[in-house]
């Protein structure tokens, strides 16, 4: 029954897409399509929430006679699917609400409206699918519709380039997933997930590597992340929010579903691979983000970092469950899944904020913004909430999931494997480093965009955005706070998911006094976001009250002091690049081979002095440039085939025929 409701929702989304194609020229098309999307997302969210909270022993399933004749289409909503369905539709609902206002500024709605509901519907289908065929078809639908959305503003050559790299990476990812499912199904060819589970696997290690490539390339795991910071910002902002906040989570779902559920017992080295890659992803993602001055690209690089955090949790869960430590495995998996939820919320919120800034000023480049807190107070407040949450600062939600991950790391000395004993503390340091760098990055993002003085006239004359956009941002800001102060409720809701995947769940948090949370039952560590919030609120109130009662209340406004030499030119402020310069000096030489070139004119020469910073993308140079170069070289060679004479073509065909016949006849 719940599955049928969710599938009807998907049908409604596809119908909305068809509707959008016919009416996209009218003014009502945008609000109508987004309202339908919002309604469907809310309905599916409700279904998923009910399913998650009242988990029954047998998950509801549905078998439809469509698709490949001997398989049909299987759909099932177990706890894992329900959780990811909830996340998907929560993000989708927020994006749709935001888009009701934001979409009105879209110049070419015909390029966005038809694909948006398809994208949402496809993501719903991926998490519901219960056989390999439906999964892959939905996955490919998701890739192609999001590719079309990235191409929405195709007049910009950067966007076309981003979309090209995206489609290549997406196709490659689907290919590896296809191979992985082929291996999983084995010779018997049972493509339903139930058959895969019951069959013994051939080469599960290879499956893991293939799945890691397939889902990792969609999620943005280093070194498969190169398309992500190009493609996510290129799409319209509400789609960027969906791609960063939700689609990467669907990729995480794919990984969890296959590795934790379909493949049997994990081998010891799997977790090392995952954890090491995840640690590198974290640090590289956040350092790259720090070097950006395009607000949306900065956010996209942060998605890479957060995917790293999620995969650290997943890797730890793999390590623990490979060694039969169930309670720590449940802790690590809960940390990862809770971060999935949290990242969906705050990353969507931040992309909404970036979209609002884009609408208000037409700018994504932070170097042209500044002082927006005066012109857009509500957006600034919501964006600040998102910044605090993503920087893992208490009492908001980002901190809780990182705290859980740290607690899982603290349990890992008990792991017997020596490789893990070395890797896990190093990755713990990387996680801590990336959390601190994320805080620096968001001081930069918020400080340069919203604080200070406006750097351009457009920033000085910005206006607050419409109510629907503000409602979406504020709603997500409230969720950030709620998940931060009442994490126990969210962790308890995840219990059936971890129970199904690693055979254990975290201790029931709601039973603890004062709504604290504890990582494992006999642990002596606890955290209480609610109390921390109350303490901070009380301390603030006390300070304000005491100061205002006993001290001077006089305020005088005057020009800025700035040590006596204020400069009226806003160009003298710190910019995004200058803010990151110290960090670039510390880390840049190793990570980006950063170099600076100073062009200083001689005295008397009137041309301006210039400072050029060169950052190299070592991942691109090491992995992609050689592939790209060899593909180009090969196609240059093959290009000659285009200019042969008819005789040469005929002889080629003949030779091919003879070769094939020979091969067939000689085949044993």
């Amino acid at each position: 029954m719940p599955v049928a409701v969710a599938l009807w929702g998907v049908v409604a989304l596809f119908a909305a897409a068809v509707l959008a194609v016919t009416i996209h020229r009218t003014r009502l098309a945008g609000p109508l399509v987004y309202l339908i999307s919002l309604a469907v997302c809310l309905a599916n969210m409700g279904v998923a929430g009910m399913q998650l909270l009242h988990a029954s022993a047998t998950a509801p399933a549905l078998h439809l006679p469509v698709g490949l004749p001997w398989i049909g289409a299987h759909f099932r909503m177990d706890a894992l699917s329900a959780f990811f369905l909830l996340v998907t539709n929560l993000g989708g609902a927020g994006a749709s609400l935001f888009a009701i206002g934001y979409g009105a500024h879209e110049k070419a709605p015909g390029r966005v409206l038809p694909f948006y509901p398809v994208f949402l519907g496809a993501m719903n289908l991926v998490v519901l699918a219960d056989d390999a065929f439906s999964f892959l078809v939905a996955w490919e639908f998701m890739s192609l519709s999001s590719w079309a959305l990235v191409m929405a503003h195709h007049h910009d050559p950067d966007n076309r380039n981003a979309a090209f790299i995206y489609i290549v990476m997406a196709s490659f990812g689907t290919l590896t997933l296809l191979l992985a499912f082929g291996l999983l199904a084995g010779g018997a060819g049972g493509y339903a997930f139930a058959d895969i589970r019951s069959a013994g696997q051939t080469w599960p290690g290879l499956v893991l590597v293939l799945v890691l490539i397939g889902t990792g390339s969609k999620a943005g795991l280093v070194p498969l992340h190169v398309w992500l910071p190009l493609a996510h910002p290129a799409a319209p902002s509400h789609v960027s929010a969906l791609m960063s906040g939700v689609m990467t989570k669907v990729a995480v779902y794919g990984f969890v579903r296959i590795v934790f559920d379909l493949v049997g017992q994990p081998a010891w080295w799997w977790s090392m691979l995952v954890i090491a890659l995840a640690g590198i992803t974290c640090v590289l993602g956040v350092l790259s983000a720090l070097m950006q001055h395009d607000l949306k690209r900065l956010l996209a690089y942060h998605t890479v970092e957060n995917i790293g955090i999620i995969f650290i949790g997943l890797g730890l869960a793999l390590a623990f469950s490979a060694h039969g430590m169930r309670a720590p495995a449940a802790l690590a998996l809960t940390a990862a899944l809770f971060h999935v939820f949290n990242h969906c919320i705050f990353k969507s919120l931040l992309f909404f904020g970036a979209g609002a800034v884009l609408v208000a000023t037409g700018q994504r480049d932070m170097e042209h913004l500044g002082g927006l807190i005066h012109r857009m107070p509500v957006t600034a407040f919501a964006f600040l909430t998102g910044c605090i949450a993503i920087s893992a600062l208490p009492p908001l939600n980002g901190f809780v999931s990182e705290w859980l991950t740290f607690q899982a790391i603290l349990l890992s000395p008990a792991l017997p494997s020596w490789g893990l004993k070395i890797i896990v503390p190093a990755v713990g340091a990387m996680l801590a480093l990336s959390a601190a760098l994320a805080a620096a990055c968001f001081v930069k993002a918020f400080g340069v965009t919203f604080l200070g003085r406006p750097r351009t006239p457009v920033a000085a004359h910005a206006h607050e955005v419409d109510r629907a956009s503000l409602a979406a941002m504020l709603a997500f800001a409230v969720i950030c706070l709620l998940a931060g102060i009442l994490p126990g409720l969210f962790i308890d809701a995840l219990a059936p998911v971890t129970q199904g995947l690693v055979g254990a769940h975290m201790p029931v948090q709601a039973a603890l006094p004062w709504l604290s949370i504890v990582p494992i039952a006999d642990s002596r560590s606890s955290y209480n976001g609610l109390l921390v919030l109350i303490f901070i609120a009380l301390a603030t109130l006390l300070a304000v009250e005491a100061i205002h009662r006993f001290a001077s209340r006089a305020v005088r406004r005057g020009p800025a002091w700035d040590c006596g030499y204020p400069d009226a030119n806003p160009a003298t402020q710190y910019t995004a690049d200058s803010f990151a310069q110290p960090i670039r000096r510390v880390f840049g030489e190793v990570v980006f081979k950063a170099s600076e070139r100073v062009d200083m004119p001689t005295p008397g020469d009137r041309r301006p002095a210039r400072l050029t910073v060169i950052l190299r993308d070592l991942v691109w140079e090491a992995f992609y440039a050689p592939i790209s170069a060899s593909v180009t070289a090969a196609s240059e060679r093959l290009n000659r085939l285009q200019f042969l004479t008819i005789r040469q073509y005929l002889s080629l065909v003949f030779a091919a025929l003879v070769t094939l016949l020979l091969a067939v006849s000689l085949w044993p």
Partner: protein, 317 residues
């Protein structure tokens, strides 16, 4: 009745850290002046400074936002809460389990986050330089702190400070990893409190200043809150080092008044000893160039990581 007693103890703890913070600052200034053969300001001078500041009118820049005006209170509140969660004279206080050492570190991070933001609010170059450098230092100091937390937590089996202090009291022994953590924590504490050799709390109008550059635009009651927060932060780090590595004299929460009095007395002694050692270190060293600081903090990070690695290899280190 027990609940009221617990809450009262918690309240005493909160007031104690608040009341002692300016005293510790005044003490360090006095000792520093004496070591430099100056007479120095009276020990109670920070209290007078704060009183004078809050009586004055606040002059704020024309383009200051609401964040600039509310920031000092948030910074103060986050620092105060973090300091109040550290066992000073007694362990096991009612709310000590509300936040563990990781959360305390993150609370200090929250205070720093807002401090860097308000530094950028007016849009002056000094505010920007301060915020930028503060976040650069923090990007190394915070992971170093987390690695120290890991080391200590792996030894004590908990990230909760009360449990750590109790463990150290009961099973204290000399361990390599704890030694590494102590050195690293001292480095972090020096950097976090903007002391020499990282930053100079007494300087103005120098391109090397970090903390003072961020708060340059503040005056009156706002400046008072920020100064008080800085004082509380100094007290916090001294208390933290005392609580983890020198927990002697700490009373249990349910102990009698005599034990509590001993706890307070030893805490005072530890504070003054810590302040004295800090100043002794400061006067014997020169300030670093700003880009030497990452090396200095990198040492702390490596020591913390080494401590954690040793404990991952064997619990007996």
């Amino acid at each position: 009745m027990a609940l009221i007693r617990d809450l009262a103890l918690q309240g005493v703890q909160m007031l104690l850290v608040l009341a002692l913070a300016p005293l510790l600052l005044g003490f360090t200034r006095k000792v520093k002046a004496r070591l430099l053969r100056r007479r120095g300001p009276p020990v109670l001078q920070p209290y007078r400074d704060l009183l004078r500041l809050i009586r004055k009118e606040a002059v704020i820049a024309e383009n200051a936002s609401w964040l600039f005006r509310s920031g000092p209170y948030l910074i103060f509140a986050a620092t105060w809460v973090a300091a109040a969660l550290i066992p000073t004279f007694a362990t096991g206080l009612t709310f000590s389990w509300a936040a563990d050492l990781i959360a305390i570190t993150a609370l200090i991070g929250s205070a720093r986050f807002f401090l860097a933001l308000v530094g950028m609010d007016i849009g002056t170059s000094f505010g920007g330089i301060g915020a930028s450098r503060e976040m650069m230092f923090a990007s190394l100091a915070e992971p170093a702190m987390i690695m120290i937390v890991f080391t200590v937590a792996l030894v004590a089996g908990s990230t909760q400070l009360s449990n750590i202090a109790t463990y150290m009291l009961d099973y204290a022994s000399l361990r390599v990893s704890l030694g590494l953590a102590l050195v690293a924590l001292i480095i972090v504490a020096v950097a976090e409190n903007a002391r020499i050799p990282v930053d100079n709390p007494a300087t103005h109008l120098e391109l090397t200043m970090v903390h003072e550059a961020m708060v340059l635009e503040y005056s009156g009651r706002h400046l008072a809150m920020i100064e008080l927060a800085a004082a509380v932060k100094l007290l916090l780090y001294v208390s933290l080092i005392a609580c983890i590595f020198f927990p002697w004299g700490l009373a249990a929460a349910d102990a009698g008044p005599a034990a509590l009095a001993v706890g307070v007395a030893t805490y005072l002694a530890k504070l003054f000893a810590g302040g004295f050692l800090l100043v002794l270190f400061e006067t014997s060293i020169a300030k670093m160039r700003v880009f030497r600081v990452p090396d200095f903090l990198g040492v702390a990070l490596m020591l913390g990581l080494l401590g954690t690695l040793l404990l991952f290899v064997s619990r007996s280190f």
